[in-house]
Amino acid sequence: MAGWSSMARPRDDLGLGRALGERMLPLVVAAMAFLAALALAGSVGAAALSKRWQEGAASVLTVQVPKATAPAVDTPAVPRLERVLAILRGTPGIASARPLEEAELTELLRPWLGSGAGRLALPLPAVIEVHLSGAGPDLAGLGTRLEAAAPGSTPESHGVWVRRLSALARSLEACAWVALGLVAAIAAAVIAAATLAGLAVRRDAIEIVHGLGATDGTIAARFAARATRQTAAGAGLGALAALPVLLFLADLAAPFAPAGQALPPGMDPGLAWLAALPIALWLGLPALPAAAALIGYATTQMTVRRWLRQLP
C-alpha cells in the first residue's frame, strides 16, 4: 500500500482521478503535440532546404566564354577556354572549374532551343561550371582578369537568388519555431486552466489535507505528478498520430529532397522508411512527450503553489 509521499505509485488522496473534465487534458495535449510535430517538421524541413540551397547553389558559379577556341587576348598561344580555366583554377576561393560537355550544354539549352540545339549552326559559348570553396573568390577582380583574357567572359553568380531563397527558407523556419513556441504557451495555459478547475473542485479536500499538515510541496507534487503523466501520455499519442502524416509529407517532398539519406551499412532494407525522415525529426518527435511533461510539471507546480497562497 502506497503512502502520501515518495511512493512509486502515489495514492489518490485528493480524488484527482474523479473529475471528468480533466480527462480531456490528455486529448487536448495530444492535439497540441500533433500541431507541434507538424511545426517541428516544418522547421527541420525549412532548415534543410536553406542549408542545401546555400551549400549547393551558392557554391556554384557559371562562366560563359564566347569564341572559346579563339586565341586568348593576353596569351595568344592558348585558346581562350584553356586560358580562362587556368585563371579560374589559379584563383583562391575556387575549388574546381570544369567545362560542360557538349551534351550537357545541349541539355541545358533544350528547354529554350529544343533537342536540336546542338545541330544549330549557332556559335555557342563554352560554359564552365565553377565550384567555390569557403567564402568564394573576389568576383569583381576575377571579372576584370577574365575580361582581359577573353572579352565577354562573365562569371555569373547565383548569389542573389540563393540569398532570396535562403531568406525565404529562414523565414519559414522562424515561423515554424514561433508556431512551436505558441503551441507550448497555449499548452501551458490549458494546463493551468485545467489545474485551477481541479483545485476549485477539490477545495474542501485540499483544505482538510492542508489542515493536517501537508506542505505546499506535497500538495503541488500530487497535482504535478498527475499532470506530468497525463501530458506525457497525451503528447506521446499526438506524436504517434503525426508520424504517418509526416511520412506521407516526406514522400510528397521526396522529389525536391537530395537523394535519400544513405542507410548505414548492414541495416535491414525493410527499415528503409526510417531514412524518409531527417534524423533531426527522429530525435525531435520523442522529445515532444518529454517537453510536454516538463511543461505540464512546471505549469502545475507554479499554479498549485500560487493557489495555495490563499490558505495560511
Binding site: A2, G3, S5, G15, I208, V209, P312
Partner: protein
Amino acid sequence: MIRLEGVGLHYVQGTSPGPEVLRDLTTVIPEGGFRWLLGPSGAGKSSLLRLLHLAVLPTRGRLSLLDVGVGDATRHDLALLRRRIGMVFQDFRLLPHLAAFDNVALPLRLAGRPEGQIRADVTEMLRWVGLGGKLEARPAQLSGGEQQRVAIARAVVGRPHVLLADEPTGNLDEVQAERLMMLLKEMNRLGTTVIIATHNDALVARHPGQSLRLEHGRLVEHG
C-alpha cells in the same frame, strides 16, 4: 505552551476587513494543560479553535504555539506545526472518497511514517473507537456518530502535542461520550494539551476543569 497576547481576528470580506470576531485575547495555556472552551453560539469558539489550528492567522497581536511564534514562521514551519496539532471538527471534515482506514492514516502518511507502523496504529485506533469492522467503509456508509469517531481517531492517531475539539460529543451517545472523555483525559495525563469547545453543560459538570469563556469575541474568564 500556547501564548496569546492581544490577539484579534477578523475575516476578510472581498478586499475590506469584516467585523472583528475575536478581540484582544490574552492568555497562556501551559504544556499539558486542559481547558474547556465555553460560551454562547457566535461568541467566537470555533474561530478561536481555527486560530489555534492555524487555519487562520491572527490579524492582530502575537500568537505562539508550542513555542513557535506564528507571525515569524514560514509556510513550511506552519505546515510542520499543524502536524503536531490534532483537530476534531464539528462537521468531521472527512475525505468522502477515502475509506475510514485511509482517512485516519492521512496524518501519519503526511508525516512520512512507515506503512507497517501506519497499518498497526490505524487499525488499533479504529478498533478502540469501535470501528474495527469498518476499516474499508467510506464516510457516506457510516452513521453520524461513526463519522465523528473516525474524525476523533484521525485527530489523535498521530499523538499530537495539542488536541483541539469542537463539540466532539455532539453525535455520540452517553456511553461513547464517556469513552471519548476517558481517551482525552488519558492523553492529557500523558502530556497532550487539550482544548474542548462544547455546549454540553452536563459533560462539563461531570468532568470539571479549567475553562476559557468567550462572549462577543472577548475572553471573559480564563485560567
